[in-house]
Structures are given as C-alpha cells and as structure tokens.
Symmetry: D2
Subunit: 330 residues, 4 copies
C-alpha cells in the first residue's frame, strides 16, 4: 500500500512514520509538514539517514496531488483539516487522526473495539480516529455502560495525559522548566472531547449519558491514564465488572484486562510505544462507587497505533500488522 | 525554643530541618535518624557545612533522653511511632508528622484551617499532623461540606502525589528508571488515609460522609493535586462555591483561592517549598457535578510546613513564623 | 533599599523577585516585563496573592522613570540591555544579570570570590553579573590557575546545564516532550561565554589561557555542573588541589569544598534554590589529568543569588543578607 | 534459534527479551531471574499477556540445564557471572552482557565496528559484550586514534548516562526523588570501564593510550552521551575528523555520522530503543582541542542491541535482524 502522512513533523505524524516504516505492507510515498517543508525525512529524523524512505522530501500539503497515495494519514491541528481533506481524491482513503471529523456525516468513527465498529471500519474510506482521552476512557467504560452496570449520568472521568497530547505546537506553552515537577487540571469549564465521549456512551447505554471530564497535564512525554468513577446500578462486586469486560474484549488483541494487584492499577509505561490498552476495575470499598482505570500510550492507542489498526482494516491487512512491537520498558 | 527532629534523614525530616533552621525562634538541638546515626548534620546535608547546626551529631532515637527539648517533631514510618513517642517526657511537646496518632485519644488533630481547630491546637501538647492527601482534599472540600452545598456521600477524590509522599524508604520501589514517564493508580482496594478523610468530613457534615479515594503516583518529587467530584445539593453555580470558601478562608494566610482562568486549576509548582494551598472550584457544565481542586507541596502543607504552623501555635509564636519563604519557581 | 527588577517574568527575574521579597532590607518598588505588562505581580505569581508586593503592576521598561529606585536588577535577553540601561539615571545603581556588560568599560565584573574583586564591587555603581557557566567553571579553576598548578592552555570545560539556563524565551525550543529523556552537547563551534572565561583565567594566570568549552543541555530545570580537565604543572596530588582551594575560599560563606567520597563529586541538587557552590577535585589516577568539578544552581550562584550578593556589597548590606535560606532538598 | 536469557528481570534482560521477541529467527525458550523466580514472563511483563512466550516460567539459573538452548544471553551483576557461565554446556553459545569476561582468555570482545572484529565475532562461541560507556566512547574515538589524528595519551572522556546504566539493583540508591533535578560526577578515583577503554585504544594506536574517564549520572532513564577531548597531532580541521570516521564506518548500518548543525551534537533521544550510534566531531575553535561526541541508548548499542548484533553474527543471521525498529521519538 502506498501511504501518505500529512503533518509528519508533529508528534502524531512522527509516530505514524515510525509505525509505517516498520509495517510489512505499507510504504510511505508522501509526507507533508508545514514547519519542515523542503527537508528530507532523514534530515528531520536522523535515524532515517541511509534508509530508503529517508530520501523522501517533505512537501507543503497539496490535497490534489496525492492521487498516487492509497491511504492518507492526516495529523493536523484541530480546525485545520476539514477544508483540505475535502479536496483529497476519492480513490485515496483517509484516516484523520485529528479531531475535525468525529461524528461528522460521511466519516466513520474508528474505535475498533466498540460493538459492531470493526465491520463498519472495514468498509470506510473516510475514517475519524478517536481522540486520545476518549480512547482510554471509552474502552474502560464501554462494557460497564453496555451491560447496564453503572449509571450513565454523572460519571466522573479524571484523565491524566503526558505532554505530547498537546501537540508539538503546544511546546511553547509547555517548556521543560515549567512542566517538570508540575501538575494541573484544565478543562474545568469544558473540553472538546466531551461530545465524543457523551455521544458514544449514550449510544451504548441507549439513554443520555453525562460526564464530568477533567483532564490533567502530567510531567511525562507519553501516556494517558483515565480514572473513571460511576455509581453502580444495583449490587455489584469487582468480579462482575471484570466479567463484563472479559465478555467484550475476550478476543481483542490489544486490550489487556489486569487485576489490581496490591490495589494497583495499570501503569502507563506498560503501553509506551505500543497500541495496547490496560484496564483494571474495582468497586470502591468505602463508597461503593465503581472505579475503572485505563492506561494507554496517547500516541499509540490514543493516536497513531489506533490509526494503523484502522488502516489495516480499511485495506484488508491483518489487523495487528505493524503493531506487534512490544512496549519500551523501562 | 529548643527543637528536636526524629527521623531527620527522611524526606519529611529533611524538610523540617530546613524550615527550623530558617525559623526565627527555633533552634535544633537534637536529631535522630536510623540510617545515618553518627553522622553530623553537615555530613548528611552538605549545605550545612560551616553552619552551627551542622555540627550536631545524628543519634539513634532514645525517647527518655529528649527532656532538654521543648518541642519534638517526629517523622517516623507508619506503625513505628506509638511506642517510642509514649516514652517522651511530658514536658516535651510533640508534633507527630507520621500517621499513628490521627484521631487517637490524647492527641489533637492538627489541620489548622478547619473550624475551631486553631484554638484546640494552641492548647495541645500531643499533636497529630494531618496526612498529606487529607490535607489537600479536606481543605478543598471542607467549606462545601460544612455549608451543605454537596452530598457528603459518594464523593470521588482523585489524588495525585509526587514520589516523596512514599517516604525515603520507598525509594527502592520507586527507582528513577521505572518511575519517570510512568503514572498509575493505587489504593484501589482501600487506603490508610480514608478514615481520616471520612471522619473529618462526617464531623463537618453532621452526618456520615463516604469517599472513593484513589491516589496516583506521578513522576515528580514534590506536590499533591487533589481533584474532588461531588453531587450538588440543589442548584449551584461556581460563584456560590467560591463564596463558601471565601467565608471559610478569608483570613487564612496560607490558603489562596484562585479562579480557574482558561479553565485551568492550580499548579502544584505554585506551592513548591512553601506551606501554601491553592484551591479552585467549578460546577462541571456537562454533568452538573461539583469539582474542587487543591494543590499543595506534600512536604509543605502536607507535612513539614503544616507541622511548623502547628508548632508555632503550640508554643505561642506567630503562626506564620518560619513559613514566609516564597515557593521555588520554576 | 528601594529595588527595581527589569525582566521580572523571566526565570532570572522571577528568582530575583523571590530573593528580594525574602531580603531583610530590600523592598521591590518597580518591576517591568514585556510579556506581562499590566498584570500585577500577584497575577503573575499566585503565591504573592495577599502579599503587599503582589499589588505592584508590571510595567513596560522605561529607563528614565526609575529614579526613585536605589538599585535596579536587569535581567534581559542578550543584546537587549545596552541601550536601555545607558538611559538609567546615574543615582540608580545597576546589577546587570544579562550578558551585555561583562568586561565592558565602566562596568565592574562581579564574581565576588575572585581575588580583589570584593573591594571593587563594593565601589561599583554599574555591575556586570557573571554568566552562569563562567561562575561555576571559574570558581572551580581559579585557585588552580592562580597557584600555577595547571597548564592554563587547553583546559577542557565540559559543562551541563538545566533548561532555565536558556531563558524563558527558549521554552519553545525546549518543550518538555523533546527535552525529557534527552541530552545533547551544543556550542561545538563556539559559545558566547568563552571570552569571559578565557579573559578571567588569563588575568589569574598572568598569561594567555585557552579552553575547549562544551555546554550540554540536561533534562532538569535548575543546576549547572562544570567538569574541568587540565594538564598538571609538575607533580601533584589531590590534597595539593584542595589546599590551593582552601587557601582561596577559607572565609567564603558560599563556597563549600567537598571531598569526593566514594569517588563522587558534588550534586547540583545540593545547591538548588541557594547561592552555594560545591567544589571537588581529583588527580585522575589513569592519566594524571587534574579534574575539577563545581555544582551550582544556575539561577542562584549563576544568576540571581550572585546578583543579590553583589547588590549587598554595593549597598553596604551584610554580604549574605537574603541569601541564607537553605537549598530545597529533595 | 532457541534462545535463553539469564537475568531477564533486570533492565538489560528486559530489553533483550523485547528484542528477541521481535526477532524473526529467535525464540526465547529459557529465562532466569533471581527476584522473579516462579512468575511467568507475562506476570513480569504485562504486555506479554496472551503472547506465546508469556507463558514461559522464570527459573533460578541452573547452567547445566540449558543444553537445549542454542544461544544464551547473560545479563548478571558484575562479579556474578564467571562461575555459573563456566558451567554452561559447550554447545550453547554465550553472549555475556555483563562485565566479567571483557579481555578474558577464551572470550572474544564484541564491539563489532572495530577493525577486524566482525570476523572474530562470527567464529566466537563465548562473547564478551562491550560496556555501555566504552561502546559510546570507543566508537567516537577509534577512527581518530587509528589514523593517528589525536594524541592517545591524556584523552578526557566526559560521559553521561541515564539511570538504567546502574542496573535494576541500583534503584534503591537512585530513587526518583533524589535523582530527578540532580546531576553528579562519579568515578573520580577510577572506574571499572577504564581498562577496557585504554586497552582497546592502545591496540588501535599501537602505543599506550591513557584516559581521564569521568562518568556522570543524568536524570533520564536511557541514553549515554560521551564527550571526548583530545590533543590534535599536527594541523587538523573538522572535515579531516569526519573523513577518518567516514572511512571507518562507511558501510556500518548502525553508525550515523552527523554534522554539528548550529554547533549542536547528537541527541541521546535520537537513539532511544535502537541499536544506533550517532557521532559528531569538531575542532574546538578556542583551544584547538579535538572534540568527539557519541550518543547511544545504553540499553541498545550499549547492551542488548549490541548483544543481538553479536548473536546474529555468531549464528549466521543477517547482522541487522531484529534491530531494524526505529527509535521511539519523542
């Protein structure tokens, strides 16, 4: 498959490039990126020196010129992709890693592990990749909501992200000196990922779901941990929560259900560099609230990894192709 | 005042030493610490070379031998302080920074800013310093609970701590290589700080309060951020939350109420090295849940700073003595 | 003393503000900063909420308007201070923390611990604060060069700095995601601090000194470690190196000579938040080269701390006033 | 090939496991590790849940029981491998990642890119993998020494390493709280890697080489940067240094020579998770000293990556097999 990457210099684009180069059937034939136009990929990524793909020159994105591309990954800042992507030739499939096409007509929403989604993705030619926070939060909550184990209203989602979640353009706001040894909550007045989360949960619940979503910026480069709190519907124990998740994810290659040994949930580092998601559940002993915790690499299952998984489905590859590398630890 | 510090080599003990040396009326005359017995303070803390206090030799803790000490700060691992502290002479006042005497008969609980607590602390000779997580969480929640603005049952407290919260003995579990670029939740099956939190909130509410408390370990050295989610009682807006806090903390020198500008709550780094607590409030626009966020330095307001504040009250000093240094930023 | 701070929003300016507020005789009456004009200091630094100095409004720097200021600290980007500082009224003393006036006519160079420098500084009204890298490197090397123990030519200075050394404007180049878990050398083709280092060493040696100076950026916020390699002049042992330093620094309150216990030199963290410098020496057993290692806080002895020390001398204060706070550890 | 890993729970062993699992011809059939005996690999490494290799149970190392293993990687603490490895059956090839067999009779030294080494490694059955510091330093210096461009005596090697270089057992000394925001030099009185460096350089020079080797601990998990300073032999420019390296490494798949753009040398992060080494050279403009800088991942080219490369040669695989994954960035 001839692959194009739009926004190759950003964090999501860089990870897409790494995964495509390691993919058995993908060949990167096109790359664009505003801040690095005219450089070769090897100039931008020194590890590509001497590599065939390293000779490719980064262009300014011209949608009309990508008709030699079979599938285009687009990783553009929010609000910047609708217009140019509308001009991409119809024969070129698109996976939009950015946020502009989620729950938009003509675009398929691409969180593979949700019920029935895999089949829809396989037929899609315009695919909206999920947001990084929704990917983690929805995978933790979906089985509980679908089985009616928790109240779908008033779910508190306390999410924590590494700095790459803000995108490379955000670097000037998140310099090392001010970010290291710091932690804060944002989005207290609302966040762009909420409609995607509420819409998906509502569809699963068959009734309106509402969430209090609070993202936090953590001094690390990669990783999202989403800790979710919900009121139980009726009597529940922890085993019942795992049973629901086991039923949903039994055959999923990228979802790992892990018991909370010594009361500890999954570590974000377990997922670093991979497309894996680790999920733990507990019924809180003091309040009876249900707690669901998911850990992903925000650039993996939260962006580029999920995008490759979708592209595999859309192009008839093995779903795990190019995604079998183990996480980097420590 | 002649001061003793038990456990001077740990993180809490080191911070107590730093604050005592900068205190206008405190003179450290006694220091103990198991792993460093026989060293001078200057050998343990190179910055004390040439400093008068640096000549003090670290001893093995012998409770009977501290009767020349006016006030003793004890910073010992959980479970290790009850017996030895019971042998400290009655004339020597004690502030126990550890967890063994909270809500124990004969000991006064010392979170100064709670209603009526300041007066009790001033009379105490045996003082149990609050836990680091409770300090942050209770200061955020207390005004809301006391005014009946939130339901006291089923409060979700999602707390995040830097690594010093685990104590110096925890270092072998939290080596740099495995902690950097990692994040995880623990205490999913319960945590020792819960009774302290629930007891205090229940007292404030006048009815039983319950919490789902989930601590997280964040790759940073100092700092706690506590993000709390509660159901509102009746109709509320954000201004009403601040009004309750303003009423409670109007004259408190260490509590800073901050609006959530651009939706951002307080940064842990704002408090680093100080006894300050920063608090923000919001009514979540999507779910109506109340969100309260507090940021402290876990070694400051969460341990040594709060302990100095209590000692000041117990010995008739100005409450802010030795605590006026500004946070280190960045 | 009425104090002004130019560039209060930068990292150096922020640290000057912190130290001035803790100083027994300094009162900040003027603050300027381009990116934050119109904000109060309390808006810029939330810890100052409720503090008298917090009400001061940050202005755009107007040199003619500071004649009510007794001493002005200027912390401006390189190349930006010559012109405006030339317009400051003569009665207002200046300490320029930036790099534009080092070894410039009419300006006194202010590394206090160099021979004879203290007296010159006390008389100065225009003072050029040393660079952060030179401060660390010169304090380590000066006694050896002055005593003729090492060859003054071909000294290799391998220096490592935390990110605040690049200034706040550098944040966009040094975002967290790209800086954490990274390390690199720069200045391989030359660095602006070299003339200051070579000039000072040449003066001390009485002959031309040359250095290969290689700075490195380390993933930390504060701290400089300078590791210097020089050829010995004649037969030497480690004790001889310490003896020379002992002679030079015996009465210096901020210089701590530390033996290399278990072969370890000083830690940058020992100095964090303070004006201290820690120095160790060794004769390398394999090659006979002399190794000198100095650790400072680049914002302390490398910038704001040194500036306060100079201001104290220039205004007749006790040299250590406002600089007695211990480092923050850990 | 049936592969065994001794010390699979350590940092080097974990990385060997990751690389072996991604290797097209290696199958891990044996794993030992003292602290994790009895666990399955999937229990130790949650990402292996559901993976065939994850079912393997970690054993206590019994050298006599590995005769079903074709090649054994040993990653044991220094001083702990000589005796047990002597009992491994002769038919089982060994790559010792630890330090006990470097320049020991009967063992081949395995830094592949040194002159003539590749051929010797291909014939070896007992292979001593190079140390992490020597790997970086020797690759930077070898071409210069071999061509006689620098004086082989009195070379200063200023090396900086991430924390995994100390091994997992070192974690208790290098807890997060004390390591973050800290930097220090060690080995000022000597280091175990010096004989390996001096011996190799002496062989290349044809005369005795001596070095002042100073390692530093940097707050990062992975990465070594080695900055080397040497006196030139005769007149030199930077191009001449690159020409020598180009001649030596022209066909080496893992060595990338990079110009020092804007005076910046290679970043350790460029190599993270890979077997690559990046090298830059400069003639220092102020002193004329030659500066050579190399960046590697200490667990890659400095340990497990180099070990896989050697194992490939020893077993007739393609030299780059299993090592083609790109570095993780950022």
């Amino acid at each position: 498959m001839r692959i194009g990457i739009v926004g190759v210099s950003g964090y999501g684009g860089s990870e897409l490039l790494r995964l495509c180069i390691g993919h058995p059937s993908f060949e990167v034939v096109y790359a664009s990126g505003e801040s690095t136009v005219g450089q070769t990929l090897a100039q931008r990524f020194p590890a590509l020196a001497g590599h065939a793909t390293g000779k490719l020159v980064i262009e300014s994105f011209a949608p009309e010129k990508v008709d030699h591309v079979d599938l285009l990954f687009a990783s553009l800042p929010t609000g910047k992709s609708s217009e140019p992507l509308s001009r991409v030739p119809a024969r070129t499939k698109i996976v939009d890693v950015g946020g502009d096409h989620r729950y938009v007509d003509g675009w398929t929403y691409g969180l593979t592990e949700l019920p029935g989604q895999r089949e829809r993705i396989a037929k899609a030619t315009r695919l909206a990749n999920p947001g990084c926070y929704p990917a983690a939060s929805l995978l933790a909550l979906a089985p509980l909501v679908r089985e009616g184990l928790i109240e779908p209203q008033g779910i508190a989602i306390d999410a924590k992200s590494g700095v790459t979640g803000t995108g490379r353009g955000g670097a000037s706001d998140f310099g090392y000196a001010e970010t290291n040894e710091d932690l804060f909550a944002y989005g207290l007045a609302g966040h762009t990922h909420v409609p995607e989360i509420q819409r998906t949960l509502s569809d699963l619940a068959g009734t309106k779901a509402t969430v209090a979503f609070t993202p936090h910026l953590v001094p690390m480069t990669r990783g999202i941990l989403s800790t979710c709190y919900a009121r139980p519907r009726g009597s529940l124990d922890t085993a019942r929560l795992y049973a629901a998740a086991e039923k949903a994810y039994r055959n999923e290659p990228f979802v790992k259900l892990v018991p909370a040994e010594k009361g500890r949930g999954p570590h974000t580092k377990w997922a670093s560099g991979s497309n894996l998601v680790f999920i733990s559940y507990a019924v809180n002993p003091d309040s009876g609230l249900v707690v669901a915790v998911a850990a992903i690499d925000n650039l993996g299952k939260g962006a580029a990894g999920q995008a490759i998984q979708n592209a595999n489905l859309m192009t008839g590859q093995k779903e795990t192709a190019g995604l079998e590398g183990l996480p980097l630890w420590p």
